[in-house]
Symmetry: C2
Subunit: 680 residues, 2 copies
């Protein structure tokens, strides 16, 4: 009876535990509904005709200090919402305490200082406004196209001077929609047709057409929808019994092996990883690695100065929203069969909650790689020891118009975190009269590659700037540049003439924390806790390990670069500041670059032994090639956060190898046929 | 009856086909035996007492022109052997035609110009010579150690001037062997004891001991052998029915999806990939991508100038042999269950063949990654299309003493080849009196990291230089630097102030083909066939895409750097020359740097529209951390060979997605238990 009572108590406690959300859990459907009902009685939201458009409605995260001291057994922390809303002359910022229904703050910012991201309505309005303009219709007809089969998309206009300051604008580009032939309208641009739309007034400001004579490709061979045929079969990644290999508590808290982390979707940042903790051995204390990490901004400048192209320097997180653009993942194909899926609950423009299913997947991955190994011949008997690498991947995909960005956070048992971005989807192509490179005069710069007849893939860059609030064994950390240089040695000292030496340089202020990578002047970049020493006295640390990347070569005063000044360095370090999360500024649309990481960093605040935030920018130069047409095979790059004297020794030395009997038994295909993987 | 006859004919033909080897197949057991019998009647091999030690005996590959024109239906090409043998005053180079038993050439090179790699006998002799020296025994006893439980390993001495020219030497380092406690003797160095051995005479030249007072760690906690306990379970990569997803014809010719390649093990280079061909669609012509690729040399300089350390600048391929050091792969752990294994047949020092089983594995890999995807919202109906990435991996592991190098060649269906090197195994550690960083005077440079009490992981680099004989659609190719620069724009031209432009610069001679990577002066590096244009007139090409790498910062005149001058640039281009395969020279042991890639390149030969070879060096700076003790978790880097206007369009657009019924059904574990992957 006693054990039954204990069991019942356990069941009760666990049901209670799961009924309290983790304080970083996103707002629930009910909470968003409550927020909307609170708003509905608060002006101007209380007037149905002037209900501002909600551009952001999400959890106001409790202060970091509260989160750090919170325990599952603690009373729940306040559930508050932060809201951005837009009405034609004002942007509203509100915070609301949900249980008490109190509006904690409501400030307004007059335009044009603060334009939030584009909403679905903005996109529809821009398109319909364009397609109801008789000039546009005439141009479309003159190209021999059916105006009812045209797709028009608003592009963020950037900011190029005060003449554009006083209204919220979109530059609209149109594509022919040969839907019977192809879904891939991006490959059928109506080149040279550019329409400037005032988004608030819902009016066309001007129509330009500089593309007469440039053919609109008919989309043949560009479709990518599966219509049957080739069967791909047989290779998979699997767990038996349908298990995932990890637990997800309360929908967001993930426990896998020696990792514990909170994962959620954010409408602006996309996937957000919080309070990542690790330990070497089960039962040991959990040790903090990262308080919060996410893609803060994504800058995509195109390299063409002409009327239809110069302004293209997208800031996809701030202008469109990476979470807003995250679509349901395609099961079995975006993520393997053993994946767990997480939904997002977002608020619509009207403040009503909606569920976006399957936007994040988590899966255990066995890559076929090796976690560690050694073969030893010079011992009494030959030794061959090897351990398979198994990781946990958390993934989200943002489909920002033509491009698809796959964001992976991969956790290894040895404590390493790999952050990977993969690019797929469609190029932004420019129509041209040329069908072959032999027709292009030598002095004519295409600003890209002729990817097929009449289409140029325009050169561009991608920069993804990650916010990484590393808290190595606690918030107070230092940034240490482990700088490697050649040390010359005199003949008296050694037969060698030189060695590579390293110096540990502790960054005192923000300017010391700005890093431009240089292969011939290399450093390691450590975030250490100077107060936590290893058993032999090294400070506990993680290092940020860049891999392939690209730097912006644009002029620092070029308007797109000015707005995206956060890409001026590969690494920045700032003191933690709850209001400095968005590298391009809270309001990125038509921003002027006055609220970026580059500006904040100019204050040169102290960063030594402080709660600091690391910013890393992963870059890609993209000179298109024909293989990118009509849809790009994925291109990936990554960087690592790697323990460096964080553990006293290799934490996975005691990992077990695989034996045959540990693996699932797979007998047949569901279809019952033999494997045939060669026909792709 | 007719069909039976046809069937019999087919069986006959296919058995004939498989009885002729591919002309690049390595020598068989029988062929090596024949070579030995031919040698046995040829002086000095005919005298049993003066039989030179065979340091290399392998296929003399037929001339490239013969291979390129060879077809499976052609008569077999000559089967010839190339042999390097060593006798105390001479190095012999021979070539033998096997079927005719003719010795085609026999040249001798007097010492000290040409020392081949160390043999097992050299290693044993160096160890036994050391351990029979009474001075060594006394030193060992003085440290309180049992001389019968000591392991001594010869280290290549490099070359530091003419005083070392006249004999073949090894520097011997000893370790305490606490075998009951640990197999990991590398963590118990007898620091400061260094013995110089004359390998030919078998005598100790000198004994030095500068390590008195430095404790020898007792190996506690350093063992890595599996002794039961934690069970890792449940994640796997699998094909149903035991299939591999590819075919291997004649033991070496691999056909997978749209790839065809020849894979073999070489005693010096390790894994060799030859005649890699790809096509977009089944039935189309096979198109040449790479004639031959392998790791040509592996340079590992240590960054410590003292007596016991200055000379450590290993050239593992030329001094030890990557294939010679390749051990059988650990099934299920080094490679997944669906792997196919390839054996190597090598010749021993006595010329007799032996089989090294399972040194190469090939497996189809599903990483859980995406080959391409797009979600489209702005069309009549939402579209979500995604295709899983499936690749073919060919892997070999070389265990060169303490370090394990995992070499992966990974082929993607989109034509990309990823070449990855992963490092594991043990650090070379140096004994020290220090137990904690607090004891180390500020001005004292450890030249590394205190990884545990009394052991410093010494800073070092790894450089792996790959030989890549790219033949894009045929042998005659050009190297094109697609150089990116900032182009300033005037206000009259555009509201932009700058764009990124690119220029295609064709390399005329070898000096144009030397590349030092620079993040702020970037280029793409294309190997193109100027005679083969795409449908829109772009030359067919592949680009070499670096990822994380490191450059050597050593002085160009520092002896180790001089010997490894091939690491002076990240990329070199040379005209094809059958005798220029080994970046550090044919004879690397005690080499003086007079036969390296850096020397050959000085001739500045024309390389435009020629049969050219690309050399890429993948580098790692390795400042050890405590996690690397007592055995390193793998560290990886890679580079890609990526189609760039090689295909007219994305070659995998028509790939099929996975459906549930395409995947194997996995029900249970062989052990019949539920999965539990959290306990590692």
């Amino acid at each position: 009876m006693e054990s039954l009572a204990a069991l019942l108590l356990l069941i009760l406690l666990s049901s209670l535990a799961s009924s309290f959300p983790h304080p970083l859990d996103p707002l629930t459907f009910t909470e968003i509904s409550t927020v909307r009902s609170i708003l509905s009685s608060h002006p101007p939201f209380s007037h149905p005709n002037s209900f501002p458009s909600i551009t952001s409605l999400s959890l106001l995260e409790p202060p970091k200090t509260s989160i750090l001291s919170w325990l599952p057994s603690s009373p729940p922390l306040p559930r508050r919402a932060t809201i951005t809303a837009y009405s034609p002359n004002l942007t509203h910022l509100l915070s609301i305490d949900i249980p008490s229904r109190l509006i904690l703050s409501h400030s307004t910012i007059p335009h044009p200082s603060a334009f939030p991201r584009l909403t679905s309505s903005d996109i529809s309005r821009a398109s319909s406004t364009t397609l109801s303009d008789p000039r546009v219709i005439r141009i479309i007809k003159n190209r021999g196209l059916d105006p009812s089969r045209i797709n028009c998309l608003p592009l963020s206009p950037g900011w190029f001077g005060p003449q554009e300051e006083n209204r919220r604008l979109a530059k609209v580009q149109c594509f022919a929609l040969f839907y019977n032939t192809t879904a891939n309208f991006y490959m059928s641009p109506i080149e040279g047709l550019m329409v400037l739309v005032d988004l608030d007034v819902g009016a066309v400001v001007w129509v330009r057409d500089e593309g007469r004579g440039i053919p609109v490709p008919n989309g043949e061979g560009t479709d990518y929808r599966y219509t049957g045929g080739a069967v791909r079969r047989g290779v998979m990644m699997e767990r038996a019994g349908g298990g995932t290999g990890f637990e997800v508590e309360g929908g967001h808290m993930v426990k896998w092996g020696n990792w514990e982390l909170h994962v959620k979707a954010d409408e602006r940042a996309g996937i957000v990883v919080s309070t990542a903790k690790v330990r070497a051995v089960e039962g040991e204390e959990w040790r903090s690695v990262m308080y919060k990490g996410f893609a803060s901004e994504l800058f995509v400048p195109y390299m063409e100065g002409s009327e239809g192209w110069y302004f293209r320097g997208y800031m996809d997180a701030g202008e469109y929203g990476l979470g807003s653009c995250a679509m349901p993942l395609v099961r079995l194909n975006d993520c393997p069969r053993n994946a767990y899926y997480m939904d997002a609950v977002f608020a619509g423009e009207d403040g009503r909650p909606f569920v976006r299913p399957d936007v994040i997947c988590l899966f255990e991955r066995y890559t076929g790689d090796v976690a560690w190994r050694h073969s030893e011949l010079f011992s009494d008997e030959a030794i061959h020891e090897s351990r398979p690498k198994v990781t946990l991947v958390a993934r989200m995909v943002a489909s920002v118009g033509n491009y698809d960005y796959i964001f992976d956070w991969e956790f290894q048992q040895d404590g390493l975190i790999k952050i990977k971005v993969s690019l797929s989807g469609m190029l932004m192509v420019k129509g041209t009269v040329y069908q072959n490179m032999s027709q292009v005069p030598k002095e004519h710069d295409l600003h890209g590659t002729l990817v097929t007849e009449n289409l140029i893939g325009i050169t561009h860059d991608h920069f993804i700037t990650f916010y990484l609030d590393m808290d190595i064994d606690g918030p107070n950390n230092s940034f240490v540049k482990v700088h490697m240089t050649k040390q010359e040695i005199s003949p008296e000292e050694s037969p060698r003439k030189s060695i590579l030496k390293f110096n540990r340089e502790v960054a005192r202020t923000e300017k010391d924390g700005r890093i431009k990578l240089n292969l011939y002047d290399p450093s390691e970049f450590h975030i250490v806790n100077p107060a936590r020493l290893s058993k032999v006295g090294n400070p506990s640390g993680y290092k940020i390990v860049p891999a392939a990347t690209a730097a912006s070569l644009l002029d620092l005063t070029d308007p797109p670069q000015l707005r995206s000044g956060f890409t001026n360095n590969q690494i920045w370090i700032t003191p933690y500041n709850q209001s400095e999360e968005w590298a391009g500024g809270l309001f990125a649309y038509q921003s002027r670059g006055d609220d970026t990481l580059a500006v904040w960093s100019e204050r040169d605040r102290p960063i030594e032994n402080k709660d600091i935030v690391t910013w890393y920018t992963l870059g890609f130069h993209h000179i298109p090639c024909q293989e990118d047409y009509p849809l790009m095979p994925t291109v990936s790059s990554s960087f690592d956060l790697k323990p460096a004297n964080f553990f006293d020794k290799n934490p996975i030395l005691r990992a077990a190898p695989y034996f045959e009997e540990d693996l699932p038994v797979c007998e047949t295909f569901a279809r019952g046929e033999l494997p045939n993987c060669n026909s792709i």
